[in-house]
Amino acid sequence: MKKQFFLLAVALGLSATSAHAKLNVIATLPDLGALAAEIGGDKVSVTTLARPTEDPHFVDAKPSFIVKLNRADALIEGGAELETGWLPPLLEGARNAKLAPGAPGRVRCNQGVQLLEVPTTLDRAKGDIHAAGNPHYLMDPLNAKIAAQTIADAFAQLDPKSAEVFQANAKKFAATLETKLAEWQKLLEPFKGRHVVAYHNSWPYFSQRFGVQVDLFLEPKPGIPPSPSHLAGVIAKMKEEKIRVIFVEPHLNRKIAETVARNSGAAVVEACQFPGGVKGTEGGYIQMMDYLVHTLAKALADK
């Protein structure tokens, strides 16, 4: 009887879910925003700061972002220095204790993710290399799964009443992702070991997961614009190794990629890291990866 009473009290406490406000969530980048929306469902409202088509390294620290961050319950960030050029002054202006480093509202999605290309020496003569490692880790679906779980755990802590919903959404997302991953891997299986050219080195995680080697870049060094001599070298190498595909993200110079494609007999493939970066990828992370894998498989099969 006593136990029942106790249970009743606990249950009452748990079920006292009177209508409560949605979590106000800010995501720095659109891929993180898409994951947050997937996990949060209708229990959160997500605002993304960067636009899917812009260069994530050089987002303007607009004052309106300060207002958004000031009112946020949670901030979802990559945590691998991709936003380091614009996020710090925004947080400084936002003066929001909920987003302080270490606070439950400060969600760093690189937790539990093994970053690749962590430089052993820091030397800017090698270009603008991120000291923490390559920050484009969500290009591996398994890292997206880890990030989704990180987000779900953070949301559950911030809104314990909806914890089950968040965990269930994370589980559902992970399950879909796993099914899809098997499908994607099968689709790219025939092209294992094939080389692909990209404008910028955003693809080591993608390469690692799918076995397609994105390892030749139009930029001579990360963040350094292509020079004619470097491009000539790339074209020669593409011809030699019969590389047929060039990945170009929406913010990068398509004209240069097209010139290289013309001179090497390759095709330019519109790629993106952020849902909404290319038309038809607005539906979220899985739709975007679907697009990427299918487009790449088609381009590799065509030639």
Partner: protein, 506 residues
């Protein structure tokens, strides 16, 4: 009859009692069912938590395994080093992830997440020349402008910043310069702490800092779009800008758009309080010698309110507007005061598919008004009634002049346009204008004051940023000063930045 009634009544009562108990039983059943459901729910949650704990345990195990693997790798490296011919360890850690630090690895003393403090070192230099004979303080008003023909070290800036603790952020900018005489000077330009999360949308800042007056004043030379400081800033806020020891509160207003109120209280004396209680190194300023004491009462401070608001005009266009004022005493007399007013606007266009921040167009404009109430001043410095060397006799009557109290009104503005037309390349154009409202009494006596005369300047420039960490800039100044004439200056500026790259404020 009575008995019958009683029986009927009691029966009725009994029946209703039975009815009641039946209802109670039903309720009990419902409650029990609810309890059962709750119990089930509770057990379900317990199970979920158990699974989560199990998951975490597995993660810990995996991590421990990784660690073990890493230490066995360390062991391998050690063995390798012990071999007679040591094989070089691989240069990149690609695919291996983060390894524990080894004595052969470099120490990381700067950078975002690896240390408690970001350190950067910025070197800003200029070379060039001008037709003007009075470059330093004549054509070029800024303390960090090119000051001479040939080479100028505009500044060497050491910046330290980071979180102090969970409550404060600290920043310090120490500047080294080599002046035109070749002497090295050091400036404690800024050193302040700032609260991180005060309640009520408030923020406090205290220490030595650039006053938030207008848009240009609080910025450091290497962030400027031009080689030199605007003329209004140089004339009204001084060559080194308005900065001093003090404290500032700011309040982020609860408006749907960005709007913020600032209020700063700073010491009012010293050379970085140019239009306020500045001794001007003992020389005359606006016709008078200035005497300056330390702070003796709250009236000796400079008070600077500012309001700023920003609007997203479109997805690609942002506008930031501001209005500032600064009030304080000046050193020309016991009750002499200065009022400074300024308005500023910044507009920027940057498309949704920019690459590396290019292309962009930005436009920045500031206008300022200074009301300098200059005190009455007797040039008979030793009060002996005789004209001594060093005392002024502008009207030539053989007696030292007595200047009346007068209000000197000056104003000016600059407007600058920057166009980032291709990655790394920016073309800029700036126009400057400053003037006085009318000739002052002291100017009628000693001639027009170069610090008040009308002048304008047009400066086109072209900047190339090989990367975010370096730049080369060529700028031409067409400089037209009343009573002086026209001058042409050409400056080539170059910059390098080592260490942490401070994020750009809007």
């Amino acid at each position: 009859m009575k008995l019958k009634t009683i029986i009927v009544l009691s029966t009725a009562l009994c029946v209703s009692a039975v009815g009641l108990s039946a209802q109670e039983a039903k309720q009990m059943e419902q409650l029990q069912q609810q309890l059962r459901q709750m119990q089930e729910q509770f057990e379900k949650q317990q199970e979920l938590q158990r699974q989560q704990i199990e998951g975490l345990r597995k993660q810990i195990e995996a991590l421990q395994k990784n660690q073990a693997a890493a230490s066995s790798e360390q062991e391998k490296v050690r063995q390798m080093m012990e071999r007679p011919i040591a094989a070089a360890p691989p240069d990149t850690a690609a695919g291996l992830g983060k390894k524990p630090w080894r004595p052969t690895d470099p120490l990381r003393v700067f950078g975002g997440q690896q240390s408690y403090m970001n350190i950067s070192f910025d070197g800003l230099f200029a070379m060039g020349g001008s037709t003007a004979r009075d470059i330093e303080g004549g054509t070029q008003l800024g303390g960090h402008d090119p000051t001479q023909r040939g080479f100028t070290l505009q500044n060497l800036e050491l910046t330290f910043d980071g979180a102090v603790d969970p409550y404060f952020r600290g920043q310090a900018n120490v500047v080294l310069q080599i002046d035109s005489a070749g002497e090295t000077i050091i400036e404690a330009e800024e050193a302040y702490l700032e609260t991180l999360s005060l309640p009520g949308r408030l923020q406090l800042k205290a220490g030595q800092y650039f006053t938030e007056f207008g848009r240009h004043n609080p910025t450091h030379p290497h962030t400027w779009g031009f080689v030199d400081t605007p003329l209004v800033n140089g004339r009204f806020l001084g060559g080194d800008g308005l900065r001093n020891l003090g404290a500032r509160a700011s309040w982020l207003l609860p408006t749907p758009f960005y709007s913020e109120l600032f209020f700063s209280v700073q010491n009012g004396h010293g050379e970085t309080a140019h239009s306020f209680r500045n001794g001007h190194e003992g020389g005359p300023f606006l016709g008078r010698l200035h005497t300056v004491n330390r702070v003796t009462s709250p009236g000796d401070f400079i008070f600077t309110p500012r309001y700023a608001a920003s609007f997203e005009l479109t997805d690609a266009q942002t506008l930031l507007l501001g209005a500032s004022a600064a009030f304080g005493k000046n050193g020309s007399g016991p009750d002499a005061r200065t009022q400074l007013y300024g308005v500023d606007a910044f507009w920027k266009w940057k498309p949704a598919n920019h690459s590396g921040g290019f292309p962009f167009v930005s436009w920045q404009t500031e206008a300022m008004l200074r009301k300098y109430s200059a005190g009455a001043f007797n040039w008979d410095l030793n009060a002996d009634g005789i004209l001594d060397p060093g005392e002024q006799d502008g009207d030539g009557d053989g007696v030292a002049d007595i200047l009346p109290r007068e209000l000197l009104t000056d104003y000016g503005f600059y407007s600058q346009l920057s166009y980032g037309f291709r990655p790394g390349w920016v073309a800029g154009l700036r126009g400057d204008y400053v003037t006085r409202s009318r000739q002052a009494v002291y100017e009628a006596l000693y001639g027009d004051d170069a610090d008040r005369l009308a002048r304008w300047r047009v400066s086109p420039n072209l900047t190339w940023y090989p990367s975010e960490f370096s730049k080369i800039r060529l700028q031409y100044n067409y400089d037209r000063r009343d009573r002086v004439g026209t001058d042409h200056s050409l400056w080539l500026q170059f910059e390098f930045l080592l260490g942490a790259h401070a994020a750009h404020k809007f």
